[in-house]
């Protein structure tokens, strides 16, 4: 089934590439708002959404809603503060915007490196998902499964270009959401709960658990303090608004109004997934209790990221349906990896190789560099993914923290304060990078650091500090050129 699904996706990707040679996902015909929304939701869905949320809920109950609300509430910030304005600015990628707004190659390269690091961290989480599923599916070692995952990804990149050509995104979303919700409905039925709306009936399942377990799941602060919950939620929101591949989705739609209305549908479609995901965690716990199975914390953590699949297997769902869930998880992770690796390789070949190393490089040479870079980046991701530093959702959250501490303030002030200049932007990105990685790198030396700035949640403090840094540095240095400020007034902030 897995091979069949991969082959079908490969063929669709090849056909899409053949029909989409000019645009590579940035040119589409006028399509309905619901279809645009499905494309936004499809672009958004990754292993963190498909596998990670259920795993976090299985382990941490109410605390998982910080992830769900962070990853949906961020779209409000994006829509309200930046979507239309960045679109009117007319630059399609983070480095393009940064260079155009701040008139600085240094700022551009800095933002390009940040975009690459974000893509790498994101990919580590996806590969963890692929590795776990392949290991479960074929009964092989996790590291072998990772290597197999890399191989499959490269077949897709080489043969099909990208799965996420715009014309398949709606179908991609439909397949994924059905492969997620239908097994969930059948799991609810198997356990004797309302199968028509498992998104509601999992509450009953939580009530039926022994009192201690039930209250642990339902009580808000069993697995984290209010500060940790709010910090994580805020970080994921500003990270969503600053994430390059989310922002770029605003440009793949014919006009600004369609893009805005597409977000309404996109959020609803993402909501369908997030309303359903915690139910897998609740039903898994329900099965463990009713079957008398106990998992020690280490085993529970090891299974959390594939709890979606394990729940279906535990309750005795038909093996085809279990496989559908597994295939959905693999497809969503592979399509995310391809999108991120291809765009990261493009950034390296153009922003670093062409702009800094070899300005006379031919198109052919740049393509070659991009291919080599894709391979190097994939191997780099593999090395980190062999010993994954946390759950899929937690690893992904670090990428959001980096985006929230660096690109979000740079976009926000770049649009909403004409006085922000290149010195402020560079200083801000530098401080944001330090704030993101200091708790990870120096946490063992300074134990208070990860408590104040948790690696997944550092933007609650980090983003305001970066914004303040940008304001102070910009005030102390000369203002940006008049043509930039005039452009903001006349083009970016006009109807």
């Amino acid at each position: 089934m897995l091979i069949g699904a991969l082959v079908i996706s490969l063929v669709i990707g090849m056909l899409a590439r053949r029909h989409n040679k000019g645009g590579y996902g940035t040119q589409v015909r006028s399509i309905g708002h619901a279809k645009i929304g499905a494309a936004i939701a499809s672009n958004w869905m990754s292993a963190a959404s498909f596998l990670g949320i259920a795993g976090v809920f299985f382990l941490q109950g109410y605390f998982a809603f910080a992830y769900i609300l962070g990853w949906t509430g961020g779209y409000i910030l994006l829509l309200v503060l930046m979507g239309s304005q960045i679109r009117r600015f007319g630059k399609y990628t983070a480095p393009d915007f940064v260079e155009a707004r701040y008139d600085s190659s240094v700022a551009r390269v800095f933002s390009a490196i940040i975009a690459i690091v974000i893509a790498l961290i994101y990919c580590v989480a996806q590969y963890k998902g692929i590795g776990l599923i392949f290991a479960w599916m074929f009964g092989i070692d996790y590291t072998q499964a990772l290597l197999f995952g890399i191989l499959v990804t490269f077949v897709f990149i080489t043969v099909a270009g990208a799965l996420k050509a715009t014309r398949n995104l709606q179908m991609h979303y439909l397949v994924l959401i059905l492969s997620f919700v239908i097994p969930l409905m059948l799991i609810a039925k198997k356990l004797g709960y309302n199968w028509l709306f498992p998104q509601f009936s999992y509450g009953r399942a939580l009530q039926d658990l022994p009192e201690k377990i039930s209250s642990d799941y339902l009580f808000p602060w069993t697995f984290g303090t209010p500060y940790e919950w709010i910090a994580l939620c805020f970080t994921l929101m500003v990270g969503t608004a600053g994430l390059p591949h989310v922002l770029s989705r605003f440009y793949t739609v014919p006009n600004n109004r369609d893009a805005r209305w597409g977000v309404v549908w996109g959020l609803f479609f993402i909501g369908l997934l997030y309303w359903s995901a915690p139910a897998f965690g609740a039903f898994a716990q329900s099965w463990l209790v009713t079957s008398g199975t106990t998992l020690d914390p280490t085993a529970a953590k090891a299974l959390a990221d594939i709890i979606v699949i394990k729940t279906a297997e535990w309750v005795g769902l038909n093996s085809i349906l279990v496989s559908i869930l597994a295939v959905g998880g693999v497809l969503v992770a592979i399509s995310t990896i391809i999108g991120l690796l291809v765009s990261a390789a493009g950034v390296v070949s153009y922003d670093i190789y062409y702009r800094l190393i070899n300005p006379n490089a031919s198109e052919r040479r740049l393509t070659l560099v991009a291919k080599i870079v894709t391979l190097i980046l994939a191997l780099l991701v593999l090395v980190i993914a062999v010993n994954p530093p946390g759950l899929i959702a937690q690893i992904t959250a670090v990428a959001f923290a980096l985006a929230g501490n660096t690109l979000f303030p740079v976009f926000l002030l770049g649009i909403w304060w004409d006085r922000t200049n290149k010195h402020g932007a560079i200083a801000g990105m530098l401080v944001g990078t330090i704030i993101t990685f200091a708790p990870i790198l120096l946490g063992s030396l300074i134990p208070i650091l990860p408590k104040v700035l948790p690696p997944t949640s550092s933007a609650l403090i980090g983003a305001p500090v970066v914004i303040l840094t940008m304001i102070i540095v910009s005030r102390l240095t000369p203002p940006p050129p008049e043509h930039l400020r005039r452009f903001l007034v006349e083009k970016v902030h006009s109807p």
């Binding site: 769900i68 949906t72 779209y75 600015f89 339902l218 109004r257 006349e490 902030h493």
Partner: protein, 109 residues
């Protein structure tokens, strides 16, 4: 991006873009809509955890005392399901207001 060489120089006030001091006209009205949306977003999303942090201390009896919606404590349902609907509504209302604002200013021009 358009270059403006040869154009009449603008005063410092003409070049001002500041979220907290928006220019009169379209931008000021747009910022008012943004503020209303952000307030409705922030109060709902951060209001609940702050309220829970103030009012809930951990005890087994706490859950017996709270109101329930769809089989779970109301605050749980609020965070797990209602807020996503609320976000969809906020996007919808923001778009309606911005559409109205944009069309009224385009007609004037």
């Amino acid at each position: 991006m358009s270059q403006t060489n040869g154009q009449k120089p603008l005063s410092r006030e003409d070049l001002r873009i500041n979220f907290f001091r928006p220019r009169p006209g379209f931008m000021r009205r747009e910022v008012i809509i943004i503020w209303i949306t952000l307030a409705a977003w922030a109060i709902m999303i951060f209001g609940m955890p702050v309220y829970l942090a103030i009012t809930y201390s951990y005890s087994a009896s706490t859950l017996a005392e709270v109101s329930y919606t769809f089989g779970v404590p109301s605050y749980f349902w609020f965070s797990s399901q209602f807020l996503i609907l609320w976000f969809v509504f906020l996007c919808f209302s923001f778009n309606v207001l911005i559409d109205w604002l944009s069309s009224s200013y385009r007609k004037r021009r």
